[in-house]
């Protein structure tokens, strides 16, 4: 039956369906599964439909048949709580310091990032529960500079294999590389962007239109009249605006480069522009942002059906976004704050997205990311994020 196993798969996050489970029962019934090895392969072929989940399957299998503990998934939760603590710290440093039993002065010396890291460490030091995000006060009294204690998501020693080879195989986790968290390659980007198409008739008229041909032929009293149409071609116009300025985008250059390469090879009409941090009066056609500025007011003349994709980390000092003369380059201070210009672009191109290479669970830390995400639908520059962005771009209306 293996009902429990099925539910473990479901809980661990593999999309398994009851139909597939029934198929597995059928397979068991047919008597083609003779041993655990067969079961491992067949259950995987039947239940798991993507190699991205093979790693999870291996873990679940090892857990169910061998008792290897499952990994916790509390990294995100810790982030959230740490952030809540930071907020609390900004509001009332003394109270928090007292509650944690640490010196306020010591904490003040830390930068916000260090502070968050510190809070996270503290949360991990706890042995007990910290669910719900408000129990941290109860931990007061422990030493601030303790040893690094028990890490919930940290290292684990796998269960011992008792020579059951399927379990051993599962324990090896051969499919680790295929899980969703892999880096973005050109091929992956290509897959995600494949749906970004808009087919229109274009080019030479070389495709026979049968319906029209028949109608015209009948009109012609049986004398054959051939009607040709132009083939459907992808006519989607895409504007790609890339933040290539400053050091803040440096860690993401590789990913953005990949996206850029793909866009150039894929779309007929892709225009690439560059900006630094955020958009003021102009976007530049040259990567050096020096020779060919294009005033964004001219963009109104473009086809409003054009898809605008902006890539940037959206991380900057708040005044760069909000102030009238926010630009760090004196030549582009026209008196309109960047946030207004972004709104303008969003209104001009109803199909627009902002792709952010910063991982989504870090967005909450930056004020400007949140502000820009209110204007443009913002997606993480990852495979999942790209797919969501593409469906946002292709939405009709």
């Amino acid at each position: 039956m293996f009902l429990n196993f099925f539910y473990i798969l479901k809980e661990i996050g593999i999309p398994v369906s009851p139909t597939a489970f029934l198929t597995l029962q059928k397979a068991l019934h047919l008597g083609i599964i003779a041993n655990l090895n067969d079961f491992y392969t067949c259950a995987r072929a039947i239940l798991v439909k993507s190699e991205r989940y093979f790693d999870l399957y291996d873990q679940a299998f090892a857990h169910h048949f061998e008792g290897v503990p499952l990994p916790d998934s509390d990294g995100f939760e810790v982030d959230e709580i740490a952030r809540a603590m930071l907020d609390e710290w900004l509001k009332n440093p003394k109270e928090l310091a007292d509650a944690l039993g640490i010196d306020e002065e010591q904490l003040k010396k830390l930068t916000p990032e260090e502070l968050i890291e510190y809070f996270k460490e503290r949360l991990k030091d706890q042995d007990g529960e910290h669910h719900g995000g408000n129990k941290w006060i109860g931990t007061g009294g422990t030493s601030p500079v303790g040893h690094s204690g028990h890490h919930p998501g940290g290292m684990r020693v796998g269960g011992q294999s008792r020579n059951k080879s399927a379990v051993k195989v599962a324990g090896e986790r051969r499919y680790k590389d295929y899980s969703t968290k892999g880096p973005l390659t050109q091929a992956k980007i290509g897959e995600a962007l494949k749906r970004l198409r808009n087919l229109r008739p274009a080019g030479p008229k070389d495709v026979l239109n049968i319906d029209e041909t028949i109608r015209e032929t009948m009109k012609n009293a049986g004398e054959i009249e051939l009607i040709f149409d132009a083939a459907l071609k992808d006519r989607l116009k895409v504007i790609l605006a890339i933040d290539n300025g400053g050091w803040s985008m440096d860690p993401y250059i590789h990913v953005v480069q990949t996206l850029f390469d793909y866009a150039r090879s894929q779309f007929d009409e892709v225009k690439t522009y560059f900006f630094h941090n955020t958009i003021y009066d102009s976007l530049w056609e040259d990567p050096a942002r020096y020779k060919k500025p294009r005033n964004i007011m001219e963009f109104t003349r473009m086809d409003p059906e054009t898809r605008l994709i902006i890539v940037g980390d959206a991380s900057m000092a708040p005044y760069e976004l909000m102030a009238n003369d926010g630009s760090i380059h004196i030549s582009e201070r026209s008196g309109r704050p960047s946030i207004q210009q972004l709104n303008f672009l969003r209104e001009t191109f109803s199909h627009s997205v902002w792709l952010n290479p910063v991982s989504e669970n870090m967005w909450g830390y930056s004020h400007t990311i949140l502000a820009i995400a209110k204007i443009f639908p913002m997606f993480e520059l990852s495979l999942d994020g790209l797919e969501k962005a593409v469906s946002a771009l292709m939405r009709k209306n």
Binding site: K49, Y178, Q186, K188, K194, I224
Partner: protein, 283 residues
Amino acid sequence: MYQGPNTEFQGAKKYVLDQELASIVNISMKLEMPLLLKGEPGTGKTMLAHAIAESLNMPLIVLNVKSSMKLIEALYQYDTLTRLNDSRFGDSKRDVSDINEYIKMGKIGQAFCADQRTVLLIDEIDKADTDFQDDMLDVLDQMQFDIIETDKTITARNRPVIIITSNAKKDLSDPFLGRCNFHHIAFPDPKMMRKIIDVHFQDIDERLAQNAIDAFYTMRDIDGVEKKPATRELINWIRALNADPDFRAKDLVKGQLPFLGVLFKKSPDYERATNIASRRRLF
């Protein structure tokens, strides 16, 4: 279900089968479900279908999916133009008033109409858009389709063994996946590769094979290569090395790697590989 003398798939002459895949193929045949294969290009997804057909002695029907393909093309085609032409000029032996004369079976139709059980390979299904996949569901589920023009239903006489391949990193639609069994062919390890080379080159020089495989895996590890060489490239490379009379197997160990263009097909990859190969020679 066809129960011939050999209904268990055990590998073929030119195909090295790993045990895992063999049992998945067999179970899919028993369950009468299509088998969806994914994996890096060049891991032998297409070859598997050929091997199954060869070892089970069934005819192989290949449907190469194209990006603009509509499902109907895979099922049947109503040849309007010929009919139009015949009705106009009337110089053929076909009976213009009989539509059936102008219906041609597509690949799926052929597999359904065949007198014996066939292997139907639907190659690179990810090329077509999702509509194609969704439309195909019913056909594969019911094992039948209708010809609208004649109002006839074509039902599969023998349920074909269906192998579907996909190169995509992206998943196919959920309902589609629900009707298939799934396997991901991982890249073969050096030991497996040795076996694969041995079936392709029966009388290959021991040292050449080993050195070539070693060099091949070293080169697959080069960072930043966009299209890693796969089995297909290795086989072609060994063929090239074999054909070169000046080539000696020990050169490979020294880091002299000729014909890198056979392995690396993209120019930046090629340059990278040549650079690294020539650097190795210095040490």
